[in-house]
């Protein structure tokens, strides 16, 4: 699994979206008329924004649009961005709020999206199963078991309410610390803690009976 951000690990700087002088430079370049600066920011963060939007909204098509909207909104407001927060945090606040808002306004679509692929990539559940199968090790039976279990996890994640899901995604998938999550969602750290716990507990309940067979993962602790 992805570990929480280790501030002491210089290799994670920037790549994980931590505050970076590089970002500041690119933002200033964009403000001063050099569009390459913003292009660099897009390419640096597009995967993380996209993945987060996908996990929150549950659909690849929507995640694509939301990612696009988030970057454009951020660009439109770039003149008001004064480096008082990291660009990454600022961008994620926009993206996560867009994703939550979108999810709320498309509640019916949310249910459908898990089983009705509309892109070549397929639905989240399908894509997830495929990726998990590719990544898993061991015999075919184990791979299938892993993929199914992760598929259950993904479904349980989508079944959470919006607030809990956002916190779980930002923490357990994106590896952000409580303070960063609190800032992005504009809530207290104590609220992050309680929502995260409730979210994990709900997923745990949904997986009851399956948890005896933990998938084999590579690269985890």
């Amino acid at each position: 699994m992805k570990r929480p951000i280790d501030r002491n690990d210089p290799t994670l700087d920037g790549a994980t979206g931590r505050y970076s002088l590089e970002d500041m430079e690119w933002v200033n370049q964009a403000k001063n008329g050099d569009s390459k600066g913003y292009g660099n920011l897009v390419r640096k963060y597009q995967d993380r924004v996209f993945n987060t939007c996908w996990r929150i909204c549950g659909h690849l098509d929507d995640a694509r649009d939301l990612t696009q909207d988030a970057f454009i909104k951020a660009f439109e407001r770039l003149a008001t961005f004064e480096h008082r927060s990291s660009f990454y945090t600022w961008l994620f606040r926009i993206a996560v709020n867009l994703a939550i808002s979108h999810r709320r306004s498309n509640d019916r679509r949310r249910v459908v999206s898990m089983d009705a692929p509309t892109l070549a990539d397929g639905s989240q559940a399908e894509s997830l199963t495929r990726l998990a199968r590719e990544r898993s090790e061991g015999d075919p039976a184990t791979r299938t078991s892993n993929a199914e279990l992760l598929s259950h996890v993904a479904r349980a994640l989508q079944a959470l309410d919006d607030e809990q899901r956002a916190v779980v995604v930002l923490r357990d998938i994106e590896g952000m610390d409580y303070a960063a999550i609190a800032q992005i969602l504009n809530i207290a750290e104590g609220t992050v803690k309680s929502r995260l716990h409730r979210g994990r507990t709900a997923i745990q309940r949904a997986l009851s009976g399956l948890l005896n067979e933990t998938p084999r993962r590579s690269g985890s602790e």
Binding site: Q68, Q183, N186
Partner: protein
Amino acid sequence: MKMTREQLEELLSAYLDDEVTDQERALVERVVREDASSRRILDELRQTRDLIGALPSHSAPPDLADEIDGLIERGALLDQPMTPQTAQRSHRGPLRVFLGIAAMLVIMVGSGIWFSAIASKNHQQQLAQNQIKDESSPKAKSTTNEAVKVAGESAGDGSAYTARAGAPAKSTEALRRENLSASKDRKADSSGLAIALEKKLEKDQTFAELKNHSFAGEPVRITLAAKSAQHQNALVSILNTTLRERGVEVVETVASNETRQLSKAQAFVVEGTAGSNFEDVRSRQLIVRAPASALYHATQLAAQGPVPAPLTLTQGTTQWTTDEALLNLQSGLRSQSTVTADSPMLAEETPTLKTPVATERKKETAEKDVASIDSGNGSSFTFLQNVMRLVGVDKATTERMANEMKRAGTAPMEAEGAETPANQRTPEGQAVGESLVERRLRELEEKGPPSAPSALAQTKPDAKAASPTVSPTGISVDDRTVIAPADDPLITCVVEVVLAPPTAEPAPSPGDKPVKPAGPKTDKSPSKN
């Protein structure tokens, strides 16, 4: 007071994430050791967390970045809002390729206009702020004009920045109002949530970006506003020695109960809770990061007395305004009075330094706190550890260093209440009072006067001549204008501030119960099921 089961499980969940205080960690570990059901819950939570983390990630579609580039360019060219609807249509539209090519052909002209507008707007804001300042502060008129002029000259190549203080509070407000007004039209077509978000961003942007910044390898300035001369000296000794061993340049170490220098361009709270020795006192360690000259200048101002107004730092078209609450806190610390802070980072309680209770507590526990460096507990160690973490030293190494220092007796221990000099000297005998800035400016002074505003520190000659106080850098602090060299580095300042607990909140109950409230970080009072 016992915790409910749910509160305990929340704590277990936070423990998994390493988001607990030392006190809470000890509590969890004891509970897990003694209670099999808690141990099982912890295992299940860990398993669930690992499963969620094992979910595969998905990269963005390969053409997404180009698509965003195209939309931005086209929006700039056509001067139309890039609404989500526009965006959605465009990436599926048949004219996409044609529009992209057309946009590329004229992008140089178009984007130049668009971005010029941004730059122009920033410049206008700066001028507006200057105008307000001129109206309300005749004394600062010439200084401010100078600052704006230099900032304007340097905006093109970013070769210099200016730092100035003394702008009335309404300058900041005026600037904020102008920003709100300018973005009103853009907000009109945004969703309610986006409006709320934008307002939030404009209203109380905190300074958390530094929390995710790696300070490894950067020069560090450490200010200890610590609890006693004893552990100030111990910490200074440890920090100076170990940080230098790690190749970290400590540009200045200030340790004094009297000189609580605090100013900021950007800051964040490292730690929210003091160690176990100070159960009724909370400490906050602020990391301040600013261009070296600007930070030094600000601290010089602060050392002269309360800073009545925000400090504005300008670098090219980027402008920060210092957090008023922190400057107010600085004033409060100096006068040892209670200060009410509006800043989000300080809004949880009213900071009170040297309250009778806190002072008494310090005296009672100072030796214990110093000794706690040995055992890796207490606020002193927490502070030390946090500083070390910033520069890439892990907890175990920090602990070992602290123990070695203590055993070797290299950490000087002065008698309680002894006077501590404001500026310490490093083990090498270097006058740490001479900061990187001072050194640089002295070198520049030796070379002769500057030939260009971007070259080195300058002051307005008339103002400097009239100024009764000149800082060691040669900067007139009354002038309140400093123009620093372009290569002046951003430096880091670590400040520890001791805060008394809110009076309305009862102190954590003592005792050694298996389960008890999580201390100051507990969000609400626990209740029984």
